[in-house]
């Protein structure tokens, strides 16, 4: 019955408490930094730029006092699939890509054509994947979920004048996170109740997969109950006049410090340079 302990598997990005430079940064800095670097990653098609970004990711990892090997471990089980899709991509790509302006066929076999551009696409895609994976994992490793929610809300506040309800969006996010364990427990309880009453349950390898049919039939009651809960909660909030974010103050006050400005400046310098010079790389 151990496999039924759903709550054990609830990790939405593991927070690793450490004393590091990156841990102490304002969550807004980290979110903006990730955004800028992600933009730089998606516009860089050259090997040089991607190597630079990869190096920068390792730098961030060092500044967070988190072992890069540990960060990359999450990708390990996916490698066969990554290589499979890379092979498919390489077998059909025949347009110019990035610095590779003249397409040259390297290998041909039936309907599959490997070109120099295809090779670049595959290598760059994998490099991009590694960089983005590292940066997003490091973000969740160094920032708690509540910090992230608060940071996102503060970042969205200026858009309030255009009608974007920053507080409500943050509330949606917080509610979502609050309810995930509640529903997981409910799912687990419902499943156990069925088993106790004699429903078939298979053990051993791939237990959860072989019992998927059972678990899937719980989907409708789970959703129906969740929707009823939502209705009740909304009524409760409305009854207590907790309906909008106007005039609300917060316990967790976010303040930019010198370290934040410096980090943001560095990230902005790197990203914006790479974006501006994206077509200038020869290799």
């Amino acid at each position: 019955m151990q496999e039924l302990a759903f709550l054990r598997h609830l990790t939405l990005g593991q927070y690793l408490p450490r004393e590091s430079f990156v841990h102490r940064l304002d969550p807004r800095t980290k979110l903006l930094g990730l955004g800028l670097l992600a933009l730089a990653v998606s516009t860089s098609a050259s090997y040089a730029a991607n190597i630079l970004l990869l190096g920068f990711s390792f730098l961030v990892s060092a500044a967070s006092r988190i072992n890069p090997g540990q960060v990359l471990r999450g990708l390990k089980p996916a490698w066969p699939l990554i290589l499979f899709f890379a092979a498919i991509q390489a077998a059909f790509y025949d347009a110019p890509f990035g610095p590779t302006r003249y397409v040259r066929v390297l290998l041909e076999w039936g309907p599959f054509t490997l070109t120099n551009a295809g090779l670049r696409v595959v290598v760059v895609s994998i490099m991009r994947l590694v960089v983005l994976w590292m940066l997003t994992t490091l973000l969740t490793n160094t920032t708690t979920i509540s910090e992230l929610a608060r940071g996102a809300e503060r970042l969205l506040e200026p858009f309030g004048r255009f009608g974007l309800p920053a507080y409500e969006l943050s509330l949606v996010f917080t509610l979502a996170l609050r309810f995930v364990p509640v529903f997981a427990t409910e799912l687990e309880d419902a499943l156990k109740a069925r088993i106790v009453r004699g429903a078939p349950w298979r053990h051993g390898r791939f237990a959860l997969l072989r019992n998927a049919q059972q678990i899937a039939s719980l989907l409708v009651p789970l959703f129906a109950d969740a929707l009823r809960r939502a209705d009740e909660l909304a009524n409760a909030m409305a009854a207590r006049c907790y309906v909008s974010g106007a005039g609300r103050t917060h316990l967790l006050a976010l303040r930019f410090r010198r370290a934040d400005w410096l980090s943001l400046g560095l990230v902005a310098a790197v990203s914006l340079t790479l974006i501006a010079l994206r077509n200038a790389f020869a290799w």
Binding site: H9, L10, L12, A38, S42, G74, P77, A78, L81, I82, F85, I88, Q89, A91, F92, Y93, F97, V121, S125, L129, L132, W133, T140, E168, L169, L171, V172, F173, T174, L175, A176, L177, R178, F179, V180, V182, F183, A184, L187, L208, L209, A212, Q213, I215, A216, L219, V220, P221, L222, F223, A224, A226, L227, R228, A230, D231, L233, A234, V243, S244
Partner: protein
């Protein structure tokens, strides 16, 4: 139980986002084994569809955004690590579902009937294409399309109008997910065009059917569709 006030919409979006994340964390509920190339049909788009039907375009779009961001964060394939491929189509799931629901709820039975027949023909057309590659797979999809089409026609003629509207919203929402994700992936060069149409049909059709069945069941369970539950006491 459609969300009327602002606070209802906020809470609905939060709860449905929680369900999206839950389904994503537990593959046993997030994927239902179906005989398709991928082995299982995803159910992660169902909360987004429900958001669109019950809460309107904003709620649906927001839940879709959660789906997209979650998918982006957990992606290990370069294909899905592209925010454009992972996030944009998903936001549209809820919006398309809402649009389809409102349109279908207002359409007359005969219009829905014609649409169901048209959908069946399109699906059969795809199945015919697949027959060129693999007879077994093509035959299977053809049978599935005809059976589902027949069921939909029966449903339209006998079922509750709102339930039909919900089913239509689910089918179109599911297809938005399949077609836009695969379409953007092809456009950005991640996948070859020839294989994509094949995958879209063999995977998209069963997934749409699963979504329609589950979403309609949920809608009936919460009272949005189907005959009102009257106490028999």
């Amino acid at each position: 139980m459609q969300a009327q006030t602002r606070i209802h919409k906020v809470v609905l979006a939060g709860v449905l986002s929680a369900l999206t994340i839950l389904l994503g964390l537990f593959p046993s509920v997030g994927f239902i084994p179906v005989p398709t190339p991928a082995g299982a049909a995803t159910t992660l788009h169902i909360p987004a569809i429900l958001g669109g039907v019950l809460g309107g375009p904003f709620v649906g779009g927001l839940v879709g955004l959660t789906f997209g961001i979650f998918s982006f964060l957990r992606a290990t394939l370069p294909l899905f690590k592209d925010p454009l491929v992972a996030i944009v189509p998903r936001v549209l799931i809820g919006i398309v579902a809402w649009a389809a629901y409102t349109a279908a709820a207002r359409a007359s039975k005969s219009v829905l009937f014609l649409l169901a027949i048209a959908a069946m023909l399109v699906a059969a057309g795809f199945a015919a294409q697949i027959l060129q590659y693999s007879v077994i797979l093509g035959a299977f999809i053809l049978v599935l399309a005809v059976a589902a089409g027949g069921a939909l026609l029966w449903f339209v003629s006998r079922g509750d109008k709102r339930a039909v509207a919900v089913a239509v919203a689910a089918i179109l929402g599911s297809f938005t997910n399949t077609s836009l994700v695969l379409g953007l992936a092809t456009l950005l060069g991640y996948l070859p065009l020839q294989g994509v149409i094949l995958v879209a049909a063999t995977h998209g059709i069963p997934e749409a059917i699963v979504a329609a069945v589950i979403v309609t069941a949920i809608a009936v369970a919460v009272g949005v569709a189907g005959a009102p539950q009257r106490s028999r006491l």
